[in-house]
Amino acid sequence: MSPDQGLPATSAPAPENLPERSQLRADLKLIADMIEKGSRVLDIGCEDGALLEYLFREKQVTGRGIELSQAGVNACVARGLSVIQGNADTDLGNYPDDAFDYAVLSQTLQAVHAPHLVLEQLARIGRKTIVSFPNFGYWKVRRRLLLQGRMPVTRVLPAQWYETPNIHLCTIRDFLLLCEDLNVEVERSLILDERGRMTTARSLWWANLIGQQAIFLLRRKS
């Protein structure tokens, strides 16, 4: 799809109102719902391993994680998950092609040094890639820049500019252009509103305005 023609319709219906079986963060739950049972998953930036543990318990997934913080890795390994201390910029190159069914990068893309190289690696390692990130095109971000002339501080971008770990922020449109350059196509996309709920958008223009976060399921173009 071209980034200038609307978003593909979300192919799956919104997750049904199933009772929550664990306290998984809403955006992670949406990612988990994209993942097929019994698959192999690499979660980059897996934090305390909440997604991996959920996937292992609920979907019998074979999971691996990479996490930068020692506290995060310790927490993961201590709960029996297979996680290495490492970083998306330097520790992806060793994995073989198609080593995983899914490579997941949740809320991490904007914090890496070279997002384009990381995304390229993800698309190589995973048959499919799931990426979520805060949308810098969100209307409140634009408003703060436009009216106050200040760097935005929002729920998903809570840090001040001088202390934020987010060094490569992008909009949904920027991201899709990058995917295009990397020969990666969107299989599914989810736009999340301020409360982390899924919302629908008629066009890319609209999605880029109302989406505070976005989640994309990507695959290499054949």
Binding site: T62, R64, Q70, V73, N74, C76, V77, A78, R79, G80, L81, S82, V83, I84, Q85, G86, D91, N94, Y95, P96, A99, F100
Partner: protein
């Protein structure tokens, strides 16, 4: 460290005279624990080409093997370690080297697991080594003992595990040289290991580490009491040389912050410098003590052989120079742990193993633990280390359904 000067002087005197302590000898001869003679059914084929048709392995076990023989953990000891991991050591009388981790309710829980630790081939605490009698000559092997490798140590352990009737080890774990054996186990016998925990180790011995070992060996061989390796026949012990080897090595096991914290520039039992070469500083006194006490429990020739085995270790070279090839399609679950202040086996060396395992998409966890204790950190009960290891072992045990007994 509470050693008084007189005590040190007495030890030094004993050292110079080269006497052996009869009490010590007696304790070493009446070694407790298990010993088994192996090699009759299957000779031990060493990397150097020699085959041993009969060799003894001394080992200790802790805990009980469960009915389906699925809870066995093989612990591989480090260069100067031995099979007495916990409890009072039969030779030194001091607590075992891994007392902080091995025991009921501890990380290596003897209520849940069956732990096996054997003295390595080439060692000096019951397993065949250069101190043993060469059946062909009736004399101690000395330098006629074949040069052994890490892989040879693992081959001997594999025969022990066969002898114990264990098909698959729940886990193989060890630090430093023990970690090298863990890697060799996972690479040579992947179908016989469920989980592998190499701690503070490397897939090859670095030039710097070989260099330190060479200093130690030269110190031993420069001691006139070494007698070209035939000191047993001469009734001597190369105490000075072995002490210096231990002192050098001991520095590499610590870190500058740890030494500073422990000793700083503090003086030993004196108010001012003596303007001489006595042990003015606490750190000198400590090292001398480490050296002297080591001589009482370790054989100089064994030290030569075992350091050599570590020097020769390069797992990649056994696999066309590509470390990842050592682990192709491995089913083993790995947990690699390094320590921030370890400059002997730094995190980078451990991370190289992680990268090789990633290259074959192996199941691997990797944690770097914050500690200022240097290489020796793996012997200590650091909370992050303990929790990580416990979590990993619990996760594995849960998947295999191994419960506490």
């Amino acid at each position: 460290m509470g050693l008084k000067r007189q005590d040190l002087a007495a030890r030094l005197d004993k050292m110079i005279k080269g006497e052996t302590s009869p009490a010590l000898e007696a304790r070493a001869q009446a070694l407790p624990g298990h010993q088994v003679e192996l090699g009759h059914d299957e000779p031990l084929k060493l990397d150097c080409g020699v085959e041993l048709n009969a060799f003894t392995v001394a080992y200790q076990t802790y805990g009980r093997l469960n009915a389906d023989r699925s809870n066995a953990i093989l612990v591989c000891h480090a260069l100067t370690g031995d099979q007495f991991m916990t409890g009072d050591h039969p030779v030194t009388g001091k607590p075992g080297w891994w007392r902080q981790l091995v025991g009921p309710g501890l990380v290596l829980d003897t209520n849940r697991f069956f732990l096996i630790c054997s003295n390595v081939i080439g060692g000096c605490l019951g397993t065949t080594g250069p101190k043993s009698i060469n059946p062909e000559t009736g004399q101690p092997w000395g330098l006629d003992f074949p040069v052994i490798t890490i892989r040879d140590m693992v081959r001997a352990q594999r025969q022990l595990i066969d002898h114990l009737g264990i098909d698959k080890l729940f886990c193989v774990i060890g630090g430093s040289m023990g970690g090298m054996q863990v890697l060799e186990w996972a690479s040579s016998y992947p179908e016989r290991v469920y989980a592998a925990v190499p701690l503070a180790t490397a897939a090859r011995h670095t030039a710097q580490n070989i260099a330190f070992h060479e200093v130690g060996r030269q110190a031993i061989m420069a001691d006139p009491e070494w007698h070209g390796g035939k000191y047993q026949e001469a009734g001597k012990i190369p105490r000075a040389g072995l002490s210096v080897a231990r002192m050098t090595a001991h520095i590499t096991y610590l870190s500058e912050p740890a030494l500073h914290r422990k000793f700083g520039r503090r003086l030993q039992d004196r108010k001012e410098l003596t303007y001489g070469f006595d042990a003015d500083f606490q750190v000198e006194s400590y090292l001398r003590h480490q050296g002297y006490s080591f001589v009482e429990r370790f054989d100089a020739n064994s030290y030569l052989y075992i350091t050599r085995a570590m020097d020769y270790f390069d797992l990649a070279s056994e696999h066309d120079g590509v470390l990842a090839n050592a682990f192709k399609s491995t089913p083993v679950r790995f947990c690699i742990i390094s320590f921030t202040s370890d400059w002997l086996f730094p995190t980078s060396e451990n991370r190289d193993i992680v990268h090789a395992l990633n290259a074959v998409a192996a199941d691997v966890s990797f944690v770097e633990i914050e500690s200022d204790a240097g290489h020796d950190a793996f012997l200590l009960d650091e909370p992050d280390f303990r929790n990580t290891l416990r979590g990993f072992l619990n996760g594995c045990a849960e998947r295999l359904g191994i419960a506490a007994q």
